[in-house]
Symmetry: C2
Subunit: 329 residues, 2 copies
Amino acid sequence: MKSLPKGMVTEEHFEIRECVQPVELQTGEVLLKALYISVDPYMRGRMSTSKSYIAPFEAGKPMEGGAIAEVLESNVQGLEKGDVVLGNLPWREVQVAKGEGLNKLEKGVAPLSYYLGILGMPGLTAYTGLTCIGKPKSGETVVISGAAGAVGSVVGQIAKIMGCKVVGIAGGESKVHYLKEELGFDEVINYKEYKSLAELSEAVVGSCPNGVDVYFDNVGGEISDAVLLNINRYARIILCGQIALYNSTEVPVGPRPQIALVKNSALMQGFIVRDFAGYFPEAVKALAQWVKDGKLTYHETVIKGFNRLPEAFIGLFKGENTGKLLVEI
Amino acid sequence: MKSLPKGMVTEEHFEIRECVQPVELQTGEVLLKALYISVDPYMRGRMSTSKSYIAPFEAGKPMEGGAIAEVLESNVQGLEKGDVVLGNLPWREVQVAKGEGLNKLEKGVAPLSYYLGILGMPGLTAYTGLTCIGKPKSGETVVISGAAGAVGSVVGQIAKIMGCKVVGIAGGESKVHYLKEELGFDEVINYKEYKSLAELSEAVVGSCPNGVDVYFDNVGGEISDAVLLNINRYARIILCGQIALYNSTEVPVGPRPQIALVKNSALMQGFIVRDFAGYFPEAVKALAQWVKDGKLTYHETVIKGFNRLPEAFIGLFKGENTGKLLVEI
């Protein structure tokens, strides 16, 4: 990352640099070659100096995030040449890394890239946020914004498995088609078709005649305003992300949600996936089983080439991806 | 209530009417004479036709709410002349009422009016909201807006009993003095001294050097914006009321709180006291004991005269009362 963006992140905030890394491995170090690097909306929050749950990125230093890499050389017990690991790594093609924090992946269980998606952070986020905060009951109506994204597409399918009526909100005809025809969502609202909050709210009413019991919010902004107008008593609103607001330079302003929460004894809760680390074993087991049984359909958008990482990351905020977006190195 | 107010409620929305009530009691009816009538902020929500948890008041019909009344005549088993009851009653000096929903009060336990306050709805609201949603831990910082009101003043004292640092927000020097000197709050912010959100936020920082863990919000609006800028990770925000917004004619707009909730994995939950009815026996027992032991100080503002009910009610929204506001008939 060349510089901290103010407002919308663009290509000019990045540069590709050639670096010389030490060749001699110390004890406890491995030499890694990146195979897949994940781009995720939460990373935009680290490109800022404001107070957050995670330290900011520094201008002039590499971006960092979930990655799958192959071990080229190892000075770490339990890891050897040819092993594949999952870790939180700087965006580098080849690098020396410490062994701590790397998880060796079992080959052959699922495509390796799945560990950056359905069996990794986005899948765990979907599972824990929906079940630990949303606590959906069979027959309830679950609405998901950013429904075609890496997290939203999994949330909707889990909610279907749990017997809920599932309504997605997404932008564009191809996403609507994907969610309805491939993932089995009951209803999908294409927010781009509506010109005002009132119109969008009418669309929510039309898709949710019994109101909204659970709202899994990846987006924020006006889409959420429309959903909030239609929540039921004891509704649960899961704040997973606010991608519509991440590139704002001013404090985002909108209708105060507090009145709807008081009137409906409703709950709104933010979280990050680590808050529910205790549920990860249960979540991975369930997700892997559903994938195996064909109950969970998983879609990746794969962009090839290390130098296209900035382009891929920026694409997240333009709503370009369907399913999990990642870069194959 | 003569007409539904749009915007601030005023005397012209009320009128005192003389009515003739049937004299002959049917089986299951009592003749009641009101002793104390409660005025509460939530009633403003019923003076509106918007969707809520409770049916709206009708123009031309009496207001209704918590009241303590003496039985003048009874056709109800278990109630006799001279008994005192608590019920949800129309604002009338004398009336025929059904026996269902009336609770006979034991005389001599506490002043009768306490059942409209510390041992009634406001006390139960304070206890259940703070403990069931806020779940404060010893050593945490609890901030309360509307701190000198019927609910806020009890919340702060319970939080002190639970070992928390308690910071109240209230308007005016006499309230600050009352909360600090009489109720033992650690810090009190007089919001009227601050001219901007930034200044008020600085005051919150000054009073809460370790940040805000629990925020019991009776008020909403800009006061809450200032508190939200200073919440800690895993903060709990209890939405009890939004009195600053109840008289708005437009949709209240402000900084979106969702980003602070996501960044801090924080929770914001609305409630009404009935949501926690299962905790009432425990709550009444604890509150009565604390009052008896002198750990809970209770303050009432009593206005005398049935015809001053409108004036008393309107006073709630002007921030005129300290402690519980009620009308003695």
